[in-house]
Amino acid sequence: MERPNTAWTALSSKRYLVSSWPWRSYAYLLSSVPVGLLTITLLVGAAALCALLSPILIGILLMASVPLVGVAIGVVERWRVRLVVPAGVPSPHAAIPGGYTRRARITFRRRERASMRALGYGVLLGLFIWPLSALFGGLSAMVLGITVATPVIASFEEVGMGPWILDTTSEGIIFLVAFGPPWYIVSSYIVGALAAAEAELAKAMLGPREEELRRNVAELRRSRLDLVDAFETERVRIERHLHDGVQQRLVGLTMTLGLAELDLPEGEGRRLVVKAHGEAEAALADLREAVRGIHPRVLVDHGLEAAVREVADRSPLPVSVRMSLPQRFPTPIEAAAYFVVSEALGNVAKHAQASRCEVEGWVSGDKLVVTITDDGVGGASLEGTSGTGLTGLVTRLDALGGTLDLSSPPGGPTRLRMECPCRLDD
């Protein structure tokens, strides 16, 4: 059987009376008594302390930190409400940005509107909710308890029940059977409805509002962008590291070997040095290629168009490049666009059997658009082995708010279109 996930659906279920819901409702109502008492004590205590200390500065400072009591109330109440809302109520609080000091974290929390709302809920809980819960929950539990105990009590002494006087066990049993079930039914629904209403209130005041949900989504986007940005910064750092370290050393090595060649007489020794020189140059060429795959320097120094022209020049088939880009773009965007072109041209050369290829780039509104078109056999897809590099780029573009579309009917032509916002923030 499917478990109901709110108190309201549980109430409308046919099996309500034989489920655990009435008892959960009792537990919810009755547990509000100690929590409510504690809350009102805390709040009154805090208010008194602030009032007492207000002549000196510390009282006013304390007053500012009262919303933190709300935060604590929220934590306890969201935990307690799970009794009747098994899925729980999500926290409305924003994630505290990293790198904050303890003091800044506290300030961040107490300034949140969710904290004030939880404080307001605390006042309601302390003043109204727990007495109401105690009245209904307590009274109905007491009546139920006495009814169940009637046979036992009646065997010891007379029990007055309205117009009747019960003084034997059997009379007590008759009362239990006649009055117990109806009372259980009526009280269960009353208690269930009250618990559901209270849970609804807690959910409304302690759960996230829509703008808070939106803010959380925005935060997620932001942190994803930060990640892409950090990723790119790291690649630039690696490139520089290779350039300043290994590359320079290899160049130094080729110079030394070149000098040695001049000094050595013809013979085996000289032949080996020439060979070593050739190998050092091959290593340098490989390294240059690897650095280009990490983050091409020309992209940093001269921008997207120059970098795309360079990758087009290295392609084995003729590639015409037509780009009109009025400005430079943030590094992660330029890098994404560059690697889309680089990957696409690589795929065209490998799979498309194309005779020529065209790369175009322009800005449309606030978007950078880059298309790569070839006259090959078509039938390409973003999934599958040929597009593994592009699949990674889709993820990367996604984080930037961009898209990658492929149109490749069998027989061609194949057209890859990238769109990406020109700016990182939005």
Binding site: T254, T256, E261, R297, V298, R309
Partner: protein
């Protein structure tokens, strides 16, 4: 021993390469007058006492971007008589274009690997000092791949393009003939055709103009 002893200012931020280069130039009998590690010092040193040739790295402190190229452009503007040889790690011709934008002759762009081929490197240096233009074969090869269908070079035959590419590397006719295994007379004929097709005037240094046309597309 070189044709003449050149006075050279060397700008390179890596100590290792600076010393390697200095020792190569030293051995060849050139005078390495100053070695500097950044573009500002380079400009100061050159302004104080102009050398014959400046050899500079593209990427130098403080920005580690293209400070060397910008310093080269500044030197060319102020003191056009100084030969400039740029050493680079990048094949991308975007760097070359910014170097050739304002200048004719007395200029070179070589990948750093080329320095290891000492004899050729020294020959390139002499050409730059004599007002020639030298472009790294690797860069030329890449440029050759691009200019096929449009621009002034479309009129040239593949053989003429080949000759022009070798001219861009700074070679003289004899060396081109040797490379292509043809007679020097045949090379002269090709060169004449190139000049005619690119419509270059007699008066100027047509060889340099042809190379520039080629490199600018």
């Amino acid at each position: 021993m070189p044709a003449r002893r050149l006075s050279i200012v060397l700008a390179e931020d890596s100590l290792l390469l600076r010393e390697g280069l200095a020792s190569i130039l030293d051995r060849a009998g050139h005078e390495v007058r100053d070695t500097v590690g950044d573009a500002d010092t380079l400009l100061a040193v050159v302004r104080k006492e102009p050398p014959d040739v400046v050899i500079t790295d593209v990427r130098m402190p403080p920005g580690h971007s293209d400070e060397g190229l910008r310093a080269a452009a500044a030197i060319r503007a102020e003191l056009p008589g100084i030969g400039i040889l740029v050493l680079s790690q990048y094949v991308a011709d975007a760097y070359l274009s910014s170097l050739l934008e304002t200048t004719t002759g007395g200029i070179g762009y070589l990948l750093k690997d080329r320095v290891g081929h000492v004899t050729e490197f020294l020959a390139s240096l002499d050409r730059v000092a004599d007002g020639g233009t030298v472009v790294d074969p690797e860069v030329v090869r890449q440029l050759l791949a691009r200019r096929r269908d449009d621009g002034p070079l479309a009129a040239l035959t593949p053989r003429e393009l080949e000759v022009l590419a070798l001219m861009a590397e700074g070679r003289v006719n004899a060396s081109i003939a040797e490379q292509l295994v043809v007679s020097e007379a045949a090379v002269r004929k090709h060169v004449g055709n190139i000049f005619a097709k690119l419509q270059l005037d007699d008066g100027r240094d047509r060889r340099v103009s042809a190379v520039l046309t080629y490199l600018r597309g």
